[in-house]
């Protein structure tokens, strides 16, 4: 077996500190049978469905099921076991790790104050069954899951983007989506309003928050040396006042020296 190749060219430029001995802290997990209620729930589920994995984490029972069973499991939890609230539904992107999405459903039993997380793993282009006719919340949540991650949902009545515009390209919460947007995103408003031919006139987005150019009087105003939009840079000092020197028609000029500062707060 060969060692993995590592480029040692810039070894001096690298930071001397590496976190090779750092171990990520793990949330403690417990057996599902350690809780009376969760043990009973798991028994009931195991009689009817395949449960791949089950444990208790942060007072939640986490169960991993097959994605085909999602609607049946949720209906069973609702009708038979009293988990009548679907609190949250979304997905996580594990494509880089295993080529899968993790779809999770947070369930709540109000009477017993118990929470269950039902999760399942689907392949990148695999669709999942909608649960919107069991839980109304799923209607919008599944649309958001589709919008943000591109997880397709079968038998949803209105499978459409919910947050991003309909003609948006890509799914922003995927790990591969750049934070500052891809090519289509960076020109989205220009293309839509003015057309592609206006790209040259308007120019690319300035994404560098520290960009400063005092000679660019279209984008910057140097404090105390302001000039009009697009005019030549000048080092002359400008006096800031909100009114013209000679006053305005029917409005008296305010002289700062003539003003009186009221110091008595309770007057």
């Amino acid at each position: 077996m060969m060692r993995e190749y590592k480029d040692k060219q810039n070894v001096q430029a690298k930071s001397y500190y590496t976190d090779r001995y750092w171990v990520a802290p793990r949330v403690p997990t417990f057996e599902a049978s350690s809780d009376e209620e969760f043990g009973a729930v798991l028994e009931s589920l195991k009689e009817n469905f395949t449960v791949n994995e089950a444990y208790i984490q942060l007072k939640h029972l986490v169960i991993n099921i097959n994605p085909e069973d999602n609607k049946a499991v949720l209906t069973h939890l609702y009708k038979e076991l009293g988990y009548g609230r679907l609190m949250e539904l979304s997905a996580m992107d594990w494509i880089a790790k295993s080529g899968e999405f993790e779809v999770f459903y947070e369930m709540l039993n109000i009477d017993k104050a118990k929470r269950i997380r039902v999760k399942c793993f689907i392949k990148e282009n695999q669709a999942i069954e909608s649960v919107q006719d069991v839980f109304r919340l799923a209607n919008f949540a599944e649309r958001e899951m589709y919008d943000m991650l591109g997880v397709k949902v079968n038998n949803h009545p209105f499978m459409k983007r919910i947050l991003m515009p309909d003609d948006w390209h890509g799914h922003p919460l995927r790990k591969t989506y750049p934070l500052q947007g891809d090519e289509a995103a960076s020109w989205y408003e220009v293309d839509k309003i003015f057309g592609k031919e206006a790209r040259d006139i308007i120019g690319p987005e300035i994404r560098d928050g520290a960009a400063i150019d005092r000679y660019d009087t279209e984008r910057f105003a140097r404090l105390g040396h302001e000039v009009k939009f697009g005019e030549e840079y000048s080092s002359e000092k400008t006096e800031q006042s909100y009114q013209e020197e000679e006053g305005v028609f029917l409005v008296r000029k305010l002289h700062k020296d003539d003003t009186k500062t009221v110091t008595d707060r309770d007057r």
Binding site: M164, P165, P172, Y177, P178, L179, Q180, G181, D182, A185, S186, Y188, E189, V190, K192, I193, F194, I201, I202, E205, I206, R207, G209, A221, Y242, Q243, E244, V248, F249, L250
Partner: protein, 169 residues
């Protein structure tokens, strides 16, 4: 009952003021700037505070209107998202000439802290802006000052100047 008290012998004679049409028109325009209610995010709260009784925009002749047809100045108060960009452009186009735009707060100026895929990096990519107002969010006094600066700008240009097409149009 009321006595007519104009004394024609004082103040240099007749109560007549001489001025130019430009000055007269701009005087009217700058003191009746009706603003389009355009609160997009938290800056909108400051804009509302400026319009309310404590800071009282009405003193400047600025009354918030809910229709672009009745508005002269658009105060872009808040984060402009890419989804919303086409609507701000449409509302700007619907405003009658002459019209001005105040870009209020960091988000409307440059995208601000939202250096993300979904935020327009400055409202001036979509509509021409007359006045950039820094702050996150600017205090109501700052918006008042911005309005006074805009009034000063209006008074300094010719009465027909704002009819000329601006940048991006």
């Amino acid at each position: 009952m009321a006595q007519h008290k104009v004394n024609y012998t004082e103040n240099g004679g007749l109560p007549v003021a001489l001025t130019t049409v430009d000055k007269l028109v701009n005087w009217g325009r700058s003191n009746s700037l009706w603003a389009l209610t355009y609160g997009l995010a938290c800056c909108g709260i400051e804009m509302m505070a400026t319009g309310a009784s404590r800071y009282d925009f009405d003193r400047f002749g600025t009354i918030f209107r809910a229709s672009p047809r009745q508005a002269e100045v658009m105060v872009v108060a808040g984060t402009l998202t890419k989804k919303h960009a086409e609507f701000i452009r449409r509302l700007y186009d619907q405003m009658a000439e002459p019209k001005w735009v105040i870009s209020m707060g960091s988000c409307a100026n440059t995208g601000g802290m939202f250096n993300t895929y979904a935020t327009v990096q400055g409202a001036d990519r979509v509509i021409p802006v007359d006045l950039y107002l820094p702050g996150c969010a600017p205090r109501p006094e700052t918006l008042q000052y911005a309005l006074m600066m805009l009034q000063k700008k209006i008074r300094s240009e010719g009465a027909n100047k704002s009819q000329r097409p601006k940048r991006l149009v």
